[in-house]
Amino acid sequence: MSQPNRIAGGQIDDKHALSFRWNGRNLTGYAGDTLASALLANGIRLVGRSFKYHRPRGIFSSGSEEPNALVQLREGAAQEPNTRATMVELFDGLVATSQNHRGALEWDLLAINDLISPLLSAGFYYKTFMWPKAFWEKLYEPVIRSAAGLGRLSELADPDIYDHGFLHCDLLVIGAGPAGLTAARAAARAGCRVILADEDFRMGGRLNAETHAVADMPGAEWASATCAELASMPNVRMMPRTTIYGAFDHGIYGGIERKTDHLVDSAGKPRQVLWRIMSKRALLCAGATERSIAFANNDRPGVMLAGGVRSYVNRYGVAPGQQVAVFTNNSDGLRTAADLEAKGIAVSAVIDARKGDAVIDTSGRKGLRSLRLNDGRKISADCLAVSGGWSPNVNLTCHHRGRPVWNDSIMGFVPAGDLPPGLSVAGAANGTMTLASVIAEAHDAAKMIACDLGHARGAGKAPTSSDETYEASAIWHVGGSPARAWVDLQNDVTTKDIKQSMEEGFQAVEHVKRYTTLGMATDQGKTSNTLGIAIMAAASGNAIPDTGTTVYRPPYTPVSIGAFAGRARGKDFRPFRLTPSHEWALANGADFVETGMWLRAQWFKRPGEAGWRDSVDREVVMTRASVGICDVTTLGKLDIQGRDAAEFLNRVYSNPFLKLPVGKVRYGLMLREDGIVYDDGTCARLAETHYVMTTTTANAGTVFRKLEFARQCLWPDLDVHLISTTDGWAQFAVAGPNSRALLSKVVDSMDLSNEAFPFMACGECTVFGGTPARLFRISFSGELAYEIAVPARYGHAMMGALMQVGEEFNAVPYGTEALGVMRIEKGHAAGNELNGQTTAHMLGLGGMVSRKKDSIGSKLSERPEMIRDDGLRLVGFRPVDRTQMLTAGAHFLEKGAPADMAHDKGWMTSVAYSPELGHSIGIGYLKRGGERFGETVRAYSPVRNQDIMVEICSPHHIDPEGERQRG
């Protein structure tokens, strides 16, 4: 019979039937159901297994606090483990399976753990699994790990899209129960911009689950009407299905909105939106969460929270059992019996602990069958509604490391004074437990906030409601049976565990938590923490306030990791920065390499070339033989202007810059303030007060940052201004013996002879009949070479034009690989050498650091350990056996010395195959390297299976006198 436990009424639509599959069974529910209510309607009580003992578990609650009913939702790549059935909005085509069992749910093989439970008491794993030592890795740990965890990831890429959004408002109301609705309405009427958020798909909070009246109508109806009113107001944003999961600094709140989780598929739309909400004020109306009572075997399927039972009966039209008993230690639990009877559900007993009655044990392993009371009576029941009291949902008030305080009159922790700035609390979250006082408090709080924010319009009057008192009692644990009494249902923590842990000396609340794992499961102890603390207090003889709570941390309920990542997935993880000649390179056979976020042409393949070495060797040979062109736009460019520009440069470079003539470029050595080489580049003086500085690609942004620091903070009255022009100018290296000839056909009316435009000259010019350009005669390759810059928008055309003019010279485009080979052949330091641990001395440039002026880093560069004679020096290497290939990262050892750190003499920083020399070459740092040319050392690289002898030489492998670049 379909849906045997369905009863009339509720906020479900019994005209709209939905089909779903549970553990392979086809079942029916209605629109408005959760998966949990639909399962209960179909008479299904057993839905999972507990973590440690694999005891049968049933649906415990009706909300996000659910510890038991965790299911694997959906299949394939969209499969989502550990999903609370109480929070899944039922949809047609839903597929769910139970988790954490070996074999069928009903016959879980790991239930054997329950039989050996005395061996598995709190902290047992710390006391064993140590012998024999090898067994930990081979046996114990694999077994423990395979039993651990609950649900399973599919290991396929998450197929959904997630968005990030930003919202601003005057007042964020967190929770749309009676407090939240009242407050939102009052604030909105007063003129505030309000965001009202609730985790549920239907706003109204407990009003939907209870039978209270508000404004002379059923609470659920009032909630519905109020939502409609709010939705119609232009200054209100309604956000159902949205959990405000965290309170961060400065009024920033994190929210997660579920957009398509209630649909059979997301159809390409964002599944969830992660919201960052910046609000001037926030009001926490998150209500309270019910807790259980600890008694023997209180964990059976069918034992449920009383508030949850009322929710199923009143909101979902589901009878959680045919014979329901009620066990309560407070006044609230009693209303359960009335609600059940109103729906014609048999109530087999009402047990009020305040009167001295108690349930001391239960039976029915796979589902509750009966209870035993302390007076000896045995009562039949297939559902036991337990109410141990209500714990205010203070979590967000403690996200800035505040702690709540204990309130004896409601037997719960309530917010204390140290709330996140701008956050106030109203309603049950504040310890205000009865409906009329909740509404009054929320209304007043909203009015006060509106007033503070300067909104003067009338907030209207608070609605009337039924009211009653709330009486709680300090009855936490019922004895009378030797069987285990559960506190944390998911992690299987019992009162015995708590007591044992305290006897073992774990007395602080944080120690008990960590030793027993109480409150560490996916529910983070929402229904168990307060109960656990009360039991600890009783066991230690301390009062609850002295026991205290553990720390509350975001997120309030777990948030999908995909939501935090948002759209930055796959290729969109980071942006692509493309050079101006990217399209040209793409069309001309380039393979690309990432340099930070840039894509740069690595080499240009020609038809017939088998591998990258063919291309790179050709590019190097052709450039050195004739002319090559390389896009060097990515290197940082800073435009520096002002009357004090020269003085400024003289202070940021360690070598002298005051006397650099107009029209000349100089190599600049830039130190960090701690004396380490930070960057090197060139600086060109285009005019009296106008310079252009270049930096390495990697440091373009950080050099600019440092210079701005110096300009604004160290020497604020120097007349100098900076701007980054890296992306403003496209820049090309034109290198090789025919570079002058090529550029003579490109640059308009400029004498490029060696006399008129010598090595290290620079100037502004035009190209191709008037396009503005800048020309620099600098050489990274060691050949006769220039760099020519045009405004970036001409970059693509310029590349094509240069290559066209270059045809008569067999010009080749060359990429970063050939660029690297040539600079290694010349012994120029680059990123591998300037790794943040390098001194000027190591580079052989100690003499460049001027002692006659104060410049950044010069003082600290003189520290004794940094200028040692026996320190590292940058030198060159070639393999003794010229047929062998050197590897970067090899360490140098003396021949015959032990291979250990004490004998480590340095390492190889960069290697390349030199077509000109016909063998592998390298550069690297070697202790006393400058004195050891001609000697040999061992290049030791065990991770690359290499151990060869290398010869030490000058790092300037070709043209050491630098004749070619001066020609």
Binding site: Q79, S154, E155, R574, D904
Partner: protein
């Protein structure tokens, strides 16, 4: 009381009523030979080794909260010895060797789980740097292997090999690296020290030092004054505010590092994996949760909580290398206080005040150092000389220009 499977069986059969307290809760004596300030991983380890290896037991550990409440109580539990520089790598290799024998040494299962750590490589320059590091590791006697894509795919098929913005090119793999149950480390060391006579005094905050003529004679605490011949401070992120009471400024800034855990999942991540083109590292605990983290927030903080940009950044990194984790849920996020030093490397040293010692500057890497830090600090306290592998961890190394800067970031703590 010795722990073993037999003991568990015996206790199970007699109602688990015979377990003895793991440690005493003594009141402090008026005087000790050595006071250790800070009952976290390093302080408890120091006390343990002082007692066990050096026979010094007239020792007190003073902890301002509950023992193990500092960073030992919330970290991403990784152990490894894959450092580059001579000043560091031998120290961390010693630590790894101590981890390997730890459980048998202190008779407590800290779940030292050596399932390997894999650092992914995404560029040639990164590969060259990792080769240099791998070779340094081998020179120090540690294990290091360079894996190619196929080697990685065999171990971790769920990584994104096809659609990544920064494709995986290889990895450096340390098979002996892994994870340890962090709380058990604190408890194991505490129990071991306590049963040898060390007094662990919880809820005892040091409020001042008794210093006269350049000599430290003891401390002022919330439980009254306590004298000692040697006072050894190791309070991690609280270093500056404690040493300030001795009139010292330190080359340390305190920063927040966030860490995260997911809901428990069936085993899916085989070891520790770190992303090379973004800030993300992950492992899976023995309870099933994915434990992961990334960069520090970047601003000075003692708040022990962070902000959203890092959470997003870390999860972006995670999705970039293993897009399967989008379906897993972030269960809890923490923040701790990191003692970020000026070169990213720590200090284990005497101070300019006789009798006052300092251990700190561990940045976000203190957990793996716990055994060696305790051992070397004990060595320094017991013998007056630094242990050879810790000899470079000097407070004056910046005066001499001998920074131990693995990252090459310079004197800016938040870059390390």
């Amino acid at each position: 009381m010795r722990y073993s499977a037999f003991k568990i069986l015996k206790e199970a059969l007699t109602g688990n009523r015979g377990w003895k307290p793991v440690w005493r809760h003594p009141e402090p004596n008026p005087e000790y030979d050595i006071i250790i300030v800070g009952g976290g991983g390093h302080g408890l380890a120091t006390a343990y080794y002082l007692a066990k290896r050096f026979g010094l037991t007239n020792v007190a550990v003073l902890e301002k909260g509950w023992l193990g409440s500092g960073n030992i109580g919330r970290n991403t539990t990784i152990i490894r010895s894959n450092y580059l520089l001579e000043g560091n790598q031998p120290f961390y290799e010693l630590s790894l060797k101590l981890w390997e024998g730890l459980e048998q040494d202190f008779n407590y299962n800290a779940m030292v789980s050596q399932r390997g750590i894999m650092n992914l490589i995404h560029s040639d320059a990164q590969r060259d740097a990792f080769v240099r590091r791998g070779n340094a590791m081998r020179l120090s006697g540690a294990d290091a292997v360079i894996l190619d894509r196929d080697g990685i795919r065999e171990k971790c098929p769920f990584l994104d090999f096809d659609n990544a913005r920064f494709p995986i090119q290889g990895a450096i793999w340390q098979p002996r690296g892994g994870t340890v149950r962090h709380d058990a480390v604190a408890w194991g060391y505490a129990r071991g020290a306590d049963e040898r006579g060390v007094d662990i005094i919880q809820n005892c905050e040091v409020t001042g030092f008794q210093i006269e003529n350049g000599v430290c004679h003891g401390v002022e605490t919330s439980k009254g004054p306590i004298r000692a011949k040697k006072i050894a401070v190791c309070v991690a992120g609280s270093s500056s505010r404690v040493m300030e009471k001795a009139g010292m400024r330190l080359p340390i800034e305190s920063h927040v590092l966030q860490a995260f855990v997911s809901e428990g999942l069936k085993p899916v991540i085989p070891g520790v994996i770190t992303f090379g083109a973004g800030h993300f590292y992950v492992s899976q605990s023995n309870k099933g949760g994915l434990v992961f983290g990334g960069d520090i927030d970047g601003y000075n903080s003692y708040a022990q909580r962070g902000n959203l940009p890092v959470v997003e950044d870390v999860c972006e990194g995670g999705m970039a290398i293993m897009p399967m984790i989008g379906r897993a849920r972030l269960l809890r996020m923490w923040g701790g206080i990191m003692d970020m030093s000026m070169d990213g490397s720590p200090f284990i040293d005497k101070t300019g005040i006789d009798g006052l010692y300092f251990n700190g500057g561990w940045c976000y890497g203190g957990f793996k150092a716990t055994p060696a830090s305790g051992f070397c600090y004990a060595h320094l306290l017991a013998t007056g000389a630094p242990h050879p592998v810790a000899q470079h961890y000097r407070l004056d190394r910046f005066l001499r220009g001998a920074a131990i800067d693995e990252k090459g970031s310079g004197a800016q703590p938040n870059l390390h």
